[in-house]
Symmetry: C2
Amino acid sequence: MKEQVHAAARRARIAAGTLALTTRADKDAALEAMADALIAETDAIVAANDLDVEIARAAGTGDNVIDRLRLDPARVAAFAGGLRDIAGLPDPVGEVVRGSTLPNGLRMQQIRVPMGVIAMIYEGRPNVTADAAAICLKAGSAVLLRGSSSAARSNAAIIDVMRAALRTAGLPADAIQQIPADDRSSATHLMQARGLVDLVIPRGGAGLIRAVVEDSTVPVIETGVGNCHVYVDADADLDMALAIVLNSKTHRTSVCNAAESLLVHKAVADVFLPRVIAALQDAGVTIHGDESFCAVHADVVPATEGDYAAEYLSLDISARVVDSVDEAIGHIRTYSSGHTEAIVTSSLVTSSRFTAGVDSAAVMVNASTRFTDGGEFGFGAEIGISTQKLHARGPMGLTEMTTTTYVVVGDGQVR
Amino acid sequence: MKEQVHAAARRARIAAGTLALTTRADKDAALEAMADALIAETDAIVAANDLDVEIARAAGTGDNVIDRLRLDPARVAAFAGGLRDIAGLPDPVGEVVRGSTLPNGLRMQQIRVPMGVIAMIYEGRPNVTADAAAICLKAGSAVLLRGSSSAARSNAAIIDVMRAALRTAGLPADAIQQIPADDRSSATHLMQARGLVDLVIPRGGAGLIRAVVEDSTVPVIETGVGNCHVYVDADADLDMALAIVLNSKTHRTSVCNAAESLLVHKAVADVFLPRVIAALQDAGVTIHGDESFCAVHADVVPATEGDYAAEYLSLDISARVVDSVDEAIGHIRTYSSGHTEAIVTSSLVTSSRFTAGVDSAAVMVNASTRFTDGGEFGFGAEIGISTQKLHARGPMGLTEMTTTTYVVVGDGQVR
């Protein structure tokens, strides 16, 4: 398996060499051709997916997982449309990040260039296959796609269609390759293909991400684990706070930017706790609260240490009353995964202290945690949300899939 | 040892929380106080260094290593002056990288914030201790300094002085801490203190860097291995080429931006090879060449595969004649460490092909490889030269020691 993965990576490197010299027009034409081909081959893709779904169902897979796995013509059309959107975005490659003429006359420019070979290791939805391939292609990099075995047939069908379209468009098919998912070791070989793979991006649950971070010798961008907090300050507009808590928790529970924990300043606890508990319970949310929350309503479950650290991804929320914004910041620095925190306050002083004090990829002031998203931020495409500090933090778009190089032009300068 | 390293990292995290809220004026005042204190304590620092030198000499350490280790009042004054230079640089923290008002009225800003806790693992010169501490402090991060055991007393003296100055300046002394070097495992514990340390930067030889990359679970920025090439094109000004080859190879041989390999286009080989061989030999350089080079002069040593991959850091150079710029690019993509490549050519077409085709942190067109340097690039301070593609590539200054966060301000927006 190692030889197979390394051989794929070597083919990808060669393809990346070609992509680095490919114009935006040619990349966009290929993306449009890929979108056309996906639409044209919808039946074949859905048929392959039917097999995946059948096998998953026979294995007793739960309905919500089946729902994520399932493709129908509308879903195929949606990700094909995503490819056209990416074709419409500016090319990040070639952007001059900075430049100057040095005192000795050297003209220095820092220029965005492709990353090279990117490996995606992911679970779940087959639409990630098309999205990731398109983002990497547009950013000038070859991609090695290692999805889950449960979606292997769907992914293979999508990748075959995209590769054929690349070939027709005159670009190397090896810019998009599937890495077999039937053997667990293929992921490990990818993460350790140092010198062949430039970047590994894991997308999936906390377990997958931890495994990649621990085993990888290739640089990794960690994505998407979100234990997000909403802090309702003493100076909060409580109607606004209620709407933001409800939206952050219940708008969609299975996503990384959903709120998992609620902190309330003691000065507003008497008024706000009964309201927020009632509203959350009406929405079907189970509250895991501290003594103050438990005292308000018998259905509040006493929170454990584990609750404060949990990313529920369900209709559950941990909740606590704090004495001050500093206590809220301390709690968040202790338990947060560094994804998104929100504060509801009308105080400029408190919001400044909060935004400077927490240490997360995004901070929302008087807005829902759900806004941390490449689409909402206007990036046009998103390959994931980074929760690490190196290279990219927060939603990652095309720019984050590039690196830079310094090009220095002189007329014979020596030191 | 693990508990000791983790305890230091936890203290550093607390100090980092304070530094994140410290103004530029206060950080600069602390840097000036540290510089004053280093000058005032020169005798104590040099005395500690004398002990290190004595022990190294007794252990039979070579003269060039001793020379790197040795401190005298002039060297202490030099790194104290470096601290004042860093105080004079703009603060990277707080810089707005991008910002916009989203269609729903949310005001989004991406802002530079401190990295948090940075671990430096390094060999050799004690001046790195002062430089690294100052750069991290200015960038708002706490630093854990793990130098070599051979410089342990010198480093301890420098760190003690800087910590005392921090305290006097009202900043937390734990922003700068020494990690014991007498136990090899301390470096491993640093690299694996995930969640406590945000970034590890190894600075030293290829062996150290490989060990850190392989063992670290904390994100790493690889620095400084340089197998740099000079390619003399068919359209080169040969006088300029000769000057650039000589300067790149011989200006300073022990540095990562020195040239280690020479490629010459066959069209100019007849004229250029005798000249460059004579000039390099006059400068004391041993040439490890291919058949074409060997045919010109009996003292050229036949090059092996290992020579093309070598970072000599000495008066040696590998050399080869190539048929085309594409063969030069192919050779470089195969053997280069991705640091700096230079081309000498008067052809715009060829230089464009070369700069787009090689895959390195810096490309010099008609200039010496020696210019890849934070000081030469005008960054004011440099913590190393990154040869990886993630986060920072090329010389790293203050900006590269920061991360960013998205601060989004609304008035109650929900999705």
